[in-house]
Amino acid sequence: MKKNKKSRRVFQILMLVLLNVLVVCILLAIINLKKQANQTDDNTNVESNGLYVAPSNMTDYQKELYEELSVIVSNIKDIENEDLSDLSASVAKNFIADYFSWGNKRGSYDIGGIDFVYGPYHNNFAFNARDYFYNDLDLILNQYGSENLPLVDNIVIDSVEKQDEKYLVSILVHDYTNDTDYYEDNYYDAYLVKAHWDYKIPTDSSFDLSKFPTNGNLMMVLRDGRIELGYFHEKWIRELGDE
């Protein structure tokens, strides 16, 4: 009788253990499935400060800049009526830091700074970058390794000028019903930001930095409550209002 009771106990404990292990397995499977659905390479969650999504795989410097941006964003009360010079400068810095940093990129498709660009043209901007600035990044990554590629550092804002005239963007729209294309003109408040910056690169890296830009003119526009990049060039070569 005692033996029976003992062996019954053993059975019960064994079944309980198996049941617990079973539950754990099921839970782990569910967690893994959910994780796959939101998978990112660096296993970080997508971060946003309410207006701008944090770039993926940020460097320490980029984290600083993003933190600054988040503070500025949180302090804005009325975006349509406030002076947005600081916000423009901060967005410009975040864009520069992400776009021109190659050491944290996975391939030619991994275009930096997209969220800071004029919204309707994200795709257009990305494809432009893939055909030009980022075109050979896959070869360069294979040749040098990401650890030997430049990262933007020490961005200095030289000036921020609020523009007297609105900035024009004409968007090409396709009308699928009539199968025609037409241009839609949009005018925005704009701030011209001029900046210069440096790069960090390992001293023993053989990558030639001489052709990388170190200064630029960025026209930042206010669209739907966000400051976004509408123009970027080494020089400001276009007068507002020209087509």
Binding site: F11, L22, L28, A29, D41, I114, H122, N123, F127, N142
Partner: protein, 852 residues
Amino acid sequence: MNKKIKIIDIFSILFSLVQTVLGVYFITLVLKYATFSKATIILACCALGLMFLLIDLLCFYSIYYQRFAAKIATLIVSVIIIGLSIFGINYLQRINKSVDNIITVNDKQFETSTVAFVTYDNDKINSIEDIKGNVKFGYIDNESFIAGNVLALEVVKDNGLNMEMFPYDSYGNLILALFSEEVDIAALPDNYYQMFSVDDGYEEYLVKTKIIHTYSKQVEVTTLSGNNKDLTKDPFTVLLMGIDEQRTDSLMVATFNPQRMIVTMTSIARDSYVPIACYSGGARDKINHARTVSRQCTIDTVEDLMGIEIDFYVEVNFYGVVKMVDAMGGLDLYSPVTFIGQQAGYENDENGRGYFTVWVGEGYLHRDGQQTLALARERHAMPGGDFGRQENQQKIIRAMAEKMLSTRDLNQIISVIEAAGDNIKTNFSLDQISQLVNFGIKMLNSTYEGKNDGVDGIFKFYSSRVTGYASWTYNESLSLPLWIYVPFKGSIADNQALIYRNLQINSTPRNDYQYDYDTLYPYYDEFEVKDTYNEKREHEEIPDIIPYFTNGYSLEDVRIWLKDRSWINLTIVEVREGDAGFSSSYSHNQVINQSVAYGKKTANVKELTIWVAKHSVDCKIESYRAYDDCSDAYVVPNFVGMNYSELMTWKTNHPDVLLNITVITDNQSSYNANYENKVSYQSVEAWTFLRDLSGPININYNKKVSVQLGLEALFSYTNSSDIVYWFSSNGFTNVTYEDVYSDSVPAGHLISAGGYTSASGSPTVSTDNAIKVIISKGSEPVVDVPTFEREDDYINFCNQNGLVPNVIYADTADSSLNGQIISQSLSSGSYKISGLAGLSINVYRYVGEGEE
């Protein structure tokens, strides 16, 4: 009570065992797809295994400790698990069957190959039992050709057929040999009709063919094995083949670079005339014929053409596209035009193609499977023709990939896999497919572009095609030029450069970091494929051939065409309203039939008959007079004002027309002085059709009484027409003319008239006299006779110089001598035309063995 418990014990144990066995089997089936989500699936399988173990333990516990409730619980749970396992196993086995059909990664595959013994325009041989005596049998002299070589020779051997064997190197040459009756029976793939019916000019020959015997066999086919590359890191190539009746109707080379997320898609036109890898000597043929040999032949041919290694292939038959797209729930696709497309053939349809009943509307619309396939096939209605079709095919592939990557409906995924099962073949392994799918989903979910813009945001597609130029090759045996498409070398090089860059072959960074961006001048993809290249187009010399007169030629066009081909005698058959074969839709004088077929060399044609549609015309109305029907041959002219010579000329040219000429001399009262030596009256109105005449035409000719005229002036005339006019305008009614060569009298000058040979002695003749006028043609021309190399050269020479060819054949059994000229009766040199009457050539003619 004990007995009852024992029965429950037995059932408990039994069901517990069954659920364990089925459960384990289910787990092994699921683990096959573990790579799709390794951790999750393995954990889930562990959980299932633990569950089965738990139930087994509970069963054992309940029996050992005689716990009735536990036994019942175990029984119920086991029954449920058995039911679910059977359901799951059934599902997975369906998927496995389809997946095993699709994936050929183990290299061994079996295909059913069928050879057809085909005759052409032959009523004597209707089955292989009729094969007796001297029968010529054509087959392929290459073991790679399963139907035309392996199976064909098996049939010959197994049936003890005693035939003369004629080997050929390709199905194209073999079928042409059949049409030209070089062979009586040809061993062709059983779908030869569909294979060759798209070639211009073959249809009229194909309808006269007949299959007298078929033989099918399952044969092992070996195709390119897959590649062990890490597809998420290394670029790779895929050959996409769209198959219709064993013909590669669509051919595309795709490359994918996971570091660039760029997909290049390069279409190769199915008519591209290129060296085929498995033909002996790498002979050229249309690239879509390579598949009739084997899939590997197509792959090797594309590798040679583009200078790349193909890592993987995906072969889809057109009917599969319909089923897959329907399983996906359709696709949103754009068509630039509305058209009616062809229904995809059903499995039992012997022709594999259906009627034109598929409506495809213009615009960006939702399309079902039949519409999608019609869009993939259509070229005639598409702007850009075949290139428009290639562009549509690339867009359809993109749309299908996008749909599959974005769907989360398991039922839909399973339906698509089942639809693909019988209609797709690939050498991707299951692991590689899951690797790619996972990679695609990860990219969509983990990148900014993927999350915001989907597939279009993360993948960049470069679409291109290998362009070329239309050319011809002349087939002697069929007497037919065949259309071919020759790729530009430049196009191959440009597409190769695009592919090499994406595969990172021989690629170095440009070190050109352009970074400007302006929303006012947004980016436009400047990637362009050139349609033409400035390179020499090598066209085979096509001989002068009879055109398609029935393709829009008028009678006048034919006459113009014949001006340079004076050796061809034209006969015109008029087909009028009410005649058989006439249609009011024909234009007046439109050629509606021809006696000599298109493609025949004109050098071999002496007689040509054309049938011409004739509407009713009224020549009395001036606007009709431009028609040939109103020419002198068919209508009464305006005789009034004609002189006697003109009248006689017309009478000579119209011997069937009766002219009653009344001559009124100047001493008669009815003489009309306004028409001196001319016609003054005709009884039938001018422009009346000669065929409408019911009697003679009465003519009044006013003749001035005979006068004597001096001939001195004539000897100073330098133009024969001036001489003729002088006689006719001066009332001479009986003059005969002769043109002769003369080395002393210049051309156009008078040699003699009425027996007078010079102006000296004041020669005179009467207008009543019969006068013979001899006019000089000048010196006899000299012709250079060449050394003839070919019989055609001699025939052309004769035709150009108005000579009757005289070819003497010497029969020979040596085929290498066929057509070789043995001798010519006159050696090369300069001869007067009159001295060439006896020009002849001796030529060898190959007659074969046993032929007369």
